[in-house]
């Protein structure tokens, strides 16, 4: 087996008395696409900043392609490209100037692919960065990362601010990178994005990796939240196969369904359902269901929106 694209051993980071990341042991093999899921403040960005050497670990170590992330960061950076969740760029430079600068600093650019990406993301690079919307700045920094064709892509919530059409373009680009054998580390709080792109998923909560596995292994996560309003009496849904977390408020029932929805639909159809709403549960709801209630970091109850 070759060198792992990313390997961490007991990687930890404390800020004051808070453990932003605790004992992370993780290995990402070459050409793998790893989804890194967690709610806001779980430690996703901290992990990436440690991998980039922008922050120093309190304990443990990390390697990228066998290169130490602190001591050999420059060599490691030569093989990776990074997309932050918030694109902070120089307002007085134009898009073209920014891409030129970042390409020169990186030292490797596929110019033809860069032009293709500019067209794909529909970005006017003659404009100054200060006139760009948040979405356009995000496009610019995505293009700057993808145009390098780096062996490893570290993406930290890269689609924040992109509209659905551009999110499609992003997914297309990630598939392309995957097809070329690039390794991708995708941090996200959007379950469907990770499901669509990733081979394996790691789940982070309060700085700890609580679950890691292939999508099939994580199938228990893909539930559906169903909300039904009844005309008359409310049936007992708790006994229906695949249904969990049933709550009743007057004539409105909320529950989660795993696997086939057919048994639930049969019961609903027989009970005079007036209104039916189904959606993907938010990550917070899933966390509530699977990893215990409450968020010990701030003591506030987890919101289910």
């Amino acid at each position: 087996m070759g060198v792992a694209a990313i390997r961490t051993e007991g990687l930890s980071k404390r800020y004051g008395s808070v453990d932003a990341l605790k004992d992370l042991d993780l290995e990402v093999v070459e050409s793998e696409v790893l989804g890194y899921l967690g709610p806001n403040g779980a430690g996703k960005t901290t992990t990436i900043r440690l991998l980039l050497g922008l922050a120093r670990p309190s304990a443990g170590r990390a390697e990228i392609f066998g290169l130490d992330c602190q001591r050999e960061s420059v060599a490691a950076h030569g093989r990776l490209a990074y997309v932050p969740g918030e694109a902070n760029l120089w307002p007085s430079l134009t898009g073209t100037e920014t891409l030129h600068l970042l390409g020169r600093v990186q030292g490797q650019v596929d110019a033809a692919y860069r032009e293709e990406l500019v067209t794909r993301f529909d970005l006017d690079t003659s404009k100054k960065v200060r006139t760009y919307s948040k979405g356009n700045r995000q496009k610019l920094i995505l293009i700057a990362a993808l145009m390098t064709r780096a062996d490893l892509l570290l993406l930290d919530e890269p689609t924040s601010g992109l509209d659905p059409l551009m999110e499609q373009a992003f997914r297309h680009s990630v598939h392309e990178a995957k097809g070329r054998g690039q390794t991708i580390f995708l941090s996200s709080h959007i379950l469907s994005e990770v499901e669509a792109l990733c081979d394996r998923v790691g789940i982070l909560r309060d700085g700890r990796l609580v679950d890691l596995g292939t999508l099939t292994q994580m199938r228990h996560l893909s539930a559906l939240t169903v909300e039904a309003t009844f005309d008359g009496t409310v049936p007992d849904l708790a006994r229906v196969p695949g249904v969990t977390s049933v709550t009743v408020e007057g004539r409105v029932v909320r529950c989660q369904v795993r696997g086939s929805v057919e048994p639930l639909l049969k019961v609903l159809a027989a009970s005079g359902v007036h209104e039916l709403l189904s959606r993907e549960p938010s990550l917070e709801e899933l966390f509530l269901a699977h990893y215990g209630a409450g968020d010990p970091t701030d003591g506030a109850p987890v919101r289910a929106d």
Binding site: L52, T94, H100
Partner: protein, 549 residues
């Protein structure tokens, strides 16, 4: 009080939210106004007290007046002298136009910072989503600026009135208040100019540049009017001319306040009007969002730093050149006046100087230049820190760039900028002196210019040290060193301060070149101190987390 108004705890009642912009702006404007009021006050007080103690006899004062009274070049630069054989007349002549310009710069920068700067940073939008209109918000911000102006005036007036009670100065309270008002009226006009240019263009930098251009035109018009070429009426075409016409302390003309008030109110009104006619974040003048790419410098971090700093460095260069030119032109007359005073001669000989009067004057002028050059160094440290705190450094550091090489590049740029600024001051002073046929040696002036570099490099090193070990304090600490040193120099010059206290000033070990030969040993020590700070700071910076604001 209407009974239906229920105040929920933690929720601000609707009526109060409407003044939030005024209060926010006022808080920041007042803070800055008090600080600059203190600078104004120190300048006025030191001028009056120094004159009173230096030129003690009527004969000395008459001689000074005879020297300056006939010099058209000096009149063109700082305004015509009136009754400068008196403490009051000399103080007005020395302070009024100078402080009007300093105040105008303060007003332009504060106005654009608190209007366009806030808007550019996106904070304006947040406020406008509350209960106010664009016009209302701008009017509120202007009220806040007004509070800052009042603070500036109050501090200046208070200190002038206190100093005026001294028997050697003897300026009454009423005249002191009017004099303070005259010195700060430049600030009032240019706060309004800054508010107006903030409506015209989309960035704070451009707004400041437009306001600066307006100041340049005002100064040039006044300069022509005072040059004695029979164009005195032009004084009425410039706000700085009106301020001269106020003639506080000598023969007050309060009616010249009328155009100042009318112009200030008119500009403010126009700013409010224009604010309502445009979108938030947009400008009245058409914005040119696109630009042809200029990639010549954008090949690495150092080139980027140069590209980003270029406008600021050119601005500093122009300011220092103007100041050098002014010092050079005035040097001859000022030097002659200095030579006439035995106590000044004593001071120069104590400093080890034997040069001509012009050299002595330039030696003092270059001490002020050294402060400006130190500001260039501090600005570069601040720019490096803002790259980090604004998250833009991440984009470079996530790529194959070493920490020390990035910081080293910025240090190199800063050092180059500091040396260049010192030399620009020297060459400008030489040109100024040449125009007056002064006997000033070019080599001596170059020495004087280079002599301003070591304190700046020391400030630079201290700044990098703080950037490395305590990043969030970088800007405060770096400017703090300059402010402290300047304070020590001013206070230390008038009282017999402990030499340990004096040694904490980066300017204290500086010889007053070209009046005396530069003390290269002390200069070397300052540079070594700076280099040590820079080395430790760079080492610490390479081994710490990058941190935001």
């Amino acid at each position: 009080m209407p009974t239906e108004l229920v105040v929920v705890p933690g929720v601000v009642p609707a009526g109060r939210t409407t003044t939030v912009i005024a209060r926010r702006t006022a808080r920041r404007a007042v803070r800055s106004g008090v600080l600059w009021g203190y600078v104004f006050a120190v300048y006025v007080a030191s001028t009056a007290l120094t004159f009173a103690s230096t030129y003690k006899t009527a004969a000395q004062r008459e001689r000074l007046a005879a020297l300056y009274g006939s010099n058209a070049a000096v009149s063109a630069l700082v305004g015509p002298p009136h009754q400068i054989q008196t403490v009051a007349g000399f103080t007005v002549w020395k302070c009024l136009t100078t402080l009007a310009i300093v105040g105008a710069v303060w007003g332009a920068l504060t106005g654009t910072r608190l209007l366009r700067g806030e808007e550019e940073a996106g904070r304006w939008e947040l406020m406008l989503s509350g209960r106010t209109t664009r016009r209302g918000a701008t009017a509120q911000a202007l009220a806040g600026l007004g509070a800052g102006f009042v603070a500036l005036w109050a501090v200046t007036a208070l200190v002038t009135a206190v100093v005026g009670r001294s028997s050697t100065v003897a300026i009454g309270v009423g005249p002191a208040l009017f004099f303070a008002l005259a010195t700060v009226s430049g600030a009032a006009v240019f706060l309004a100019v800054g508010a107006l240019t903030s409506q015209l263009v989309p960035t704070r930098r451009q707004a400041s540049a437009y306001a600066g251009a307006a100041l340049g035109v005002s100064y040039a018009l006044r300069m022509v009017a005072d040059s004695g070429a029979g164009l005195g009426w032009l004084r009425w075409a410039s706000p700085l001319g009106w301020i001269e016409e106020l003639q506080p302390l000598t023969s007050p003309h309060p009616d010249a306040l009328l155009p100042v008030v009318v112009l200030t109110a008119g500009l403010a009104g126009l700013a409010v009007h224009l604010a309502g006619r445009r979108d938030v974040g947009a400008s009245t003048f058409p914005d040119r969002p696109a630009a042809r790419p200029h990639t010549a410098l954008l090949n690495g971090p150092a080139g980027l730093a140069l590209r980003l700093s270029r406008p600021t460095l050119l601005g500093w260069g122009a300011a220092v050149a103007a100041m050098g030119l002014l010092s050079g032109v005035v040097a001859k007359s000022a030097g002659r006046a200095l030579s006439a005073s035995t106590s000044v001669e004593k001071v120069i000989s104590r400093l080890g100087g034997s040069g001509s009067g012009s050299d002595a004057y330039l030696g003092v002028a270059f001490l002020i230049t050294a402060v400006l050059v130190a500001f260039v160094a501090a600005g570069q440290v601040g720019a490096a820190r803002s790259e980090e705190s604004g998250g833009r450094l991440d984009a470079l550091m996530a790529r194959p760039v070493r920490r020390w090489s990035w910081l080293g590049g910025r240090l190199g740029l800063a050092t180059g900028a500091v040396v260049a600024t010192g030399l620009v001051a020297a060459v400008a002073a030489w040109l100024g002196a040449l125009s007056q046929h002064s006997q000033v040696r070019f080599v001596g002036l170059i020495g004087g210019g280079l002599n301003t570099v070591p304190p700046a490099l020391c400030v630079l090193g201290i700044g990098v040290l703080v950037l490395g070990v305590w990043p969030r304090a970088t800007v405060m600490a770096t400017y703090g060193v300059i402010a402290w040193s300047f304070l020590v120099e001013i206070v230390g010059g008038t009282v017999n301060a402990n030499h340990w206290l004096l040694d904490t000033s980066v300017f204290h070990q500086m010889a007053a070149a070209p009046a005396v030969a530069p003390d290269w040993a002390s200069a070397g020590a300052l540079v070594a101190l700076g280099a040590l700070g820079a080395a430790v700071g760079t080492f610490a910076f390479s081994r710490r987390d990058l941190v935001g604001e």
